[in-house]
Amino acid sequence: MPSSKFTEFINGAKATIPMIIGAIPFGIIFGTLAEPSGLSIWGAMAMSLFVYAGSSQFIAVGLLATGVGPVIIIATTFVVNLRHLLYATALVGKVSHLSQGWRALLAFGLTDESFAVVNSRYLGRTDTVYAHWFFLGSIVAMYSNWQLCTWLGIGLGELFPNMTNWGLDFAMSVTFLGIIIPYLRNKPMWLAVISAAAFAMVLQDLPNQLGLVIAALSGICIGYASQQIEVRIRLHKATGDVIKATSGVIKATSANKGSHKP
């Protein structure tokens, strides 16, 4: 029997709790950063309400602080959030039967965190009649926490103007680190991640987060290229094995034919 809509919704929210713990300091620090960077209180709140993408909100605030214009900030947001296209591609088969309104709602809340939680709900399961309620539960939990923390951060930022020095930004780093780890299952992925990290550090001083963009693109190219090379090598080996095996069989059969007399 499939679980009810309500149970799915609650389970979705519950499964998101680890992500929420990582997002609490992350949301608070975003709120505190808003004012020193020159963003208004309403601007900070609107960003959390309508953009709802933690890492790009952080980067936007960082860019604003260095006086970068809106066009570059929007372009950077695009590049940084392009990874969500992959999340949507992975999940589209699970939501294509839903109404356009449902799909828009679920797409709006498709963050790194909810994707990680929802994707593992769908993996290898057939009882997915009401799984979109699980998805929604994850989004509602994550979204309301994000709003609350942004608001709290704005307030705390006013109370403690030096809070930005406390190092709470580590919460974002450790959450992302936790999300990266399950991806590291093969050599091409390791190569991609390590080279992106190295490029990001070497190119850190380039203006307008250009270093981040170049690092990401280089990482993707290196990962993809090494995957192709690995596939070729494996193919080559496999062909070699097949040839060896076939010649072995041929030898064996001919030897058999020679020795065996009916």
Partner: protein, 105 residues
């Protein structure tokens, strides 16, 4: 007004990226190479974001004991690979970071 425009633009591109596939409900097909390359995007972008934050918090590469970001991340990564459990990774990392930061103050 500049701010409104910027936030509207950010909201538009973010929602656009997240919605386009769902809106078309599978009627968009990507080439195999594109899909394979896309598979690298999330971990690559996330690591490009965090590497400078963790390894060079003062703007230069710092692997000394005085860099709590590095040591806390190292412990968190170790726990992450060992337990394969996200909440444990995050909590251990945060606790480790706070302790390191606190002992250094």
């Amino acid at each position: 007004m500049n701010e409104t425009m910027m936030i509207a633009g950010m909201a538009f591109v973010t929602f656009g990226i997240r919605y386009v596939m769902f809106a078309m409900a599978g009627r968009i097909r990507f080439a195999l190479w594109f899909k394979q390359a896309l598979g690298y995007v999330p971990p690559v972008v996330l690591s490009a974001i965090i590497a400078p934050l963790i390894l060079m918090p003062q703007g230069y590469l710092d692997l000394s004991l005085a860099n709590p970001y590095f040591w806390a991340a190292l412990v968190a990564a170790g726990v992450g690979f060992w337990r394969q459990h996200l909440l444990t990774t995050i909590v251990v990392g945060l606790v480790c970071f706070v302790l390191l930061k606190w002992t250094m103050m």
